[in-house]
């Protein structure tokens, strides 16, 4: 997604100075959000400093499983995607949009002021950065703009982390969404743990990031560090645990609306909606209108929804997509086909979350490959 654009100089941030950087962000008024260990997973929460980062933790992921483990490493970012993505901060799971009060024969409506702080997102992987850019298109890319998303997005600071050890379920190389963060960040780091030193190669991607970095007065990166980074990222690009062939994939899926594979997936899929909730690009939501007990105050809430739920397509007395088969087909076809018509990009960034968090281990790369392998309309 996009070409590398940053011309800012690369600097060296000793790992022991990570807190200086985080403190500088806090001093600028940012609330830090980053990876931290909670309930057997590496999740995204508000953090206070580097000590909250999952140093010494990693995880192993398989289809339908995520296992947290200690690896004793000193690295801060030695893990792949967890169950959370930054969408929960830009597009909150549940949000009050407005309230209304009865007023004579009518009522008065007041927009809810969003109280969210300015977030600094710490450790944003390239795939998740691309996911944010995809949601930008949904919530502020057309004639209507969601003001809550826009304000949170514009206020946010992004500290990206280039991926050096992709996980078993990752396929950002296939989606052209990683492992190196190409654009859209304020600062990007590559963690380098060698025998003699533990540093971050750090580079600004925006004026905001540049300013902050200058204030830290760091040494320039030498050629050795830059070469090592190139090697790290090249190795990462070729060690993805999953692969997805995207060649003509949008038309392959459209042409195979009647493929028997959909029925087979439906035999396993529980229509539980986990895949959509963990996905960093899924944007579907519903609107709930409520009143208080007196009936004089009404509220409108927005809440994440999923194309796997029964009510999602309810109209004229029935569901447009009643079967699990049609729901999985809608989900996969949206991600890897119709999304490209709607927004000019795939709706998948190859983060692997939906594979790990599917209770029955359905793997979209496997399903897409199976449909391609038995294409009903091969051309």
């Amino acid at each position: 997604m996009g070409e590398a654009i940053s011309n800012y100089a690369k600097r060296i941030l000793p790992s022991t100075d990570l807190d200086r950087l985080l403190e500088a962000l806090q001093q600028k008024g940012y609330t830090l959000v980053g990876p931290t260990v909670r309930e057997n997973a590496i999740v995204l929460e508000e953090i206070e400093g580097a000590e909250d980062l999952p140093v010494g933790w990693t995880e192993t992921q398989e289809a339908g499983s995520y296992k947290l483990s200690r690896n004793g490493s000193e690295e801060y970012f030695d893990f792949a995607s967890g169950p959370h993505s930054f969408k929960k901060y830009l597009f909150p799971p549940r949000l009050k949009l407005w309230q209304a009060k009865r007023h004579r024969a009518g009522f008065k409506v007041e927009q809810e002021n969003d109280q969210a702080p300015s977030y600094a997102f710490i450790g944003v992987r390239s795939c998740d950065l691309c996911a944010i850019e995809i949601q930008d298109k949904v919530f502020m890319g057309d004639s209507y703009v969601d003001p809550v998303y826009k304000e949170r997005r514009e206020k946010a600071f992004i500290l990206a982390v280039n991926c050096t050890k992709p996980g078993n379920l990752c396929f950002c190389s296939s989606m052209d969404t990683g492992p190196k963060a190409k654009s859209g960040y304020d600062l990007a780091v590559t963690e380098q743990l060698k025998e003699s030193e533990h540093v971050f190669l750090i580079q600004a991607g925006s004026e905001k990031g540049h300013e902050l970095l200058e204030a830290l007065e760091l040494a320039d990166a030498d050629e050795g560090a830059v070469e090592f980074e190139n090697k790290q990222l090249e190795d990462a690009a070729t060690s993805m645990g999953r692969f997805l062939d995207t060649h003509k994939l949008p038309s392959v899926l459209k042409n195979n609306f009647e493929h028997p594979r959909w029925e087979q997936i439906a035999d396993r899929c529980l229509s539980c909606a986990n895949c959509t909730l963990v996905c960093p690009t899924c944007f579907c939501h519903t609107v709930e209108d409520t009143t208080d007990l007196t009936g004089d105050v009404a509220e409108r809430w927005r809440q994440w929804d999923s194309c796997f739920t029964g009510d999602f397509t309810y109209f004229a007395g029935g569901s447009a997509r009643a079967s699990t088969k049609s729901r999985y087909r809608q989900w996969l076809t949206h991600k890897l086909s119709t999304w490209t018509d709607q927004f000019g990009t795939f709706g998948c960034v190859g983060c692997g979350r939906c594979i790990a968090w599917c209770p029955v281990g359905i793997d979209l790369t496997e399903e897409a490959a199976a449909i391609r392998a038995t294409d009903l309309v091969s051309d």
Binding site: L97, W98, A100, R102, A105, G106, F107, K108, V109, Q111, N113, D114, Q115, A116, V138, F139, D142, Y144, V145, D146, P147, V148, K150, E151, K254, F257, F283, C284, H285, T286, V287, D289, T290, T291, G295, A298, R300, R302, D305, C307, D311, F312, T313, Y314, F315, A316, G317, A320, R321, A322, S323, K325, S326, R329, Q330, T333, H334, T338, D341, Q342
Partner: protein, 279 residues
């Protein structure tokens, strides 16, 4: 920290200035756009999101004359929670309005052509503004034909309009009912076969169709059989809608967001989807 932009999900209360019962389950609300919002303008075929205080919000087409946007009509059939609550409201009450949304009937593209309008049941409501436009600018069009199917004579909508149009020489109105009652002396049967005999020039006609999806499919087949090209057939599609601004995802119909790419589509754009199950 005040959101600088008004949320497109924010509704505006509009007072109901009149209510009218169309039949046993369908009613029309006449609304007055509040002056504070500036003039309200819409195109035939567009819809608003109607909010009943504390109950919910639903898409309803505008059924009034786009040439007279000082008062706005919505004609609604009671089918569930929100439509029933809407039906309880009286003159002087207010409902919330967001809109107008969506694409419109091709009244500009139809200039110089025959226009055949096929409506089933409540489907006449979104087509009424198109009919009013055609009749107001009558000289711009060739034949104007309305084919309307209702379940029973009692359930016919816009009875006054239909009586008036039927007596006019510049529009040909054919009304049919599924089930006749004693006093009915008109046609009996579904509306789609009427397409076969309607007096229009297949090479120079535009069709506008609205009704239940199954009826629209049959009507389209009849129009195709008469030789009307797919890009001259327009349909208004319906799906669950929670936002009307292309964000909630509910109305997706393959690549289309019915709320913003539709609801009015030319048939060639959706031909590959019509008739498929569970798209």
């Amino acid at each position: 920290m005040i959101a600088a932009l008004a949320s497109p999900m924010l509704t505006t209360p509009w007072p109901i200035i009149k209510t009218h019962r169309e039949n046993s389950d369908t009613f029309t609300l006449e609304l007055e756009p509040p002056e504070s919002n500036g003039p309200f303008a819409f195109k035939p075929g567009q819809f608003n999101m109607l909010y009943v205080f504390g109950v919910g919000e639903i898409p309803i087409s505008i059924s009034s004359d786009a040439g007279n946007p000082e008062t706005i009509l919505h004609t609604t059939r009671k089918v569930g929670t929100v439509t029933n609550a809407l039906g309880e409201l009286r003159t002087g009450d207010s409902i919330g309005i967001r809109g107008p949304f969506g694409t419109n009937w091709p009244v500009e593209e139809a200039v110089g052509k025959d226009v055949v309008i096929v409506a089933g049941g409540i489907g006449l409501a979104p087509l009424r503004p198109a009919l009013l436009h055609l009749l107001e600018h009558r000289r711009q069009y060739k034949n104007v034909i309305l084919l309307y199917g209702s379940r029973t004579p009692e359930e016919m909508l816009f009875r006054k309009d239909l009586e008036k149009w039927s007596s006019q020489l510049d529009i040909q109105v054919y009304v049919t009912v599924d089930r006749a009652t004693r006093s009915w002396r008109g046609m009996v049967g579904v509306v789609t076969p009427l397409v076969h005999r309607a007096p229009f020039d297949r090479k120079n006609a535009v069709a506008m169709v609205c009704g239940p999806e199954i009826m629209m499919r049959y009507a389209t087949e009849e129009l195709q059989r008469r030789g009307v090209p797919d890009d001259m057939i327009y349909l208004s599609m319906e799906r669950n809608m929670k936002c009307a601004i292309g964000m909630c995802g509910h109305c997706q119909y393959s690549s289309e967001f019915i709320c913003k790419d539709g609801p009015v589509f030319s048939y060639d754009r959706i031909a590959h989807l019509m008739g498929k199950n569970e798209v």
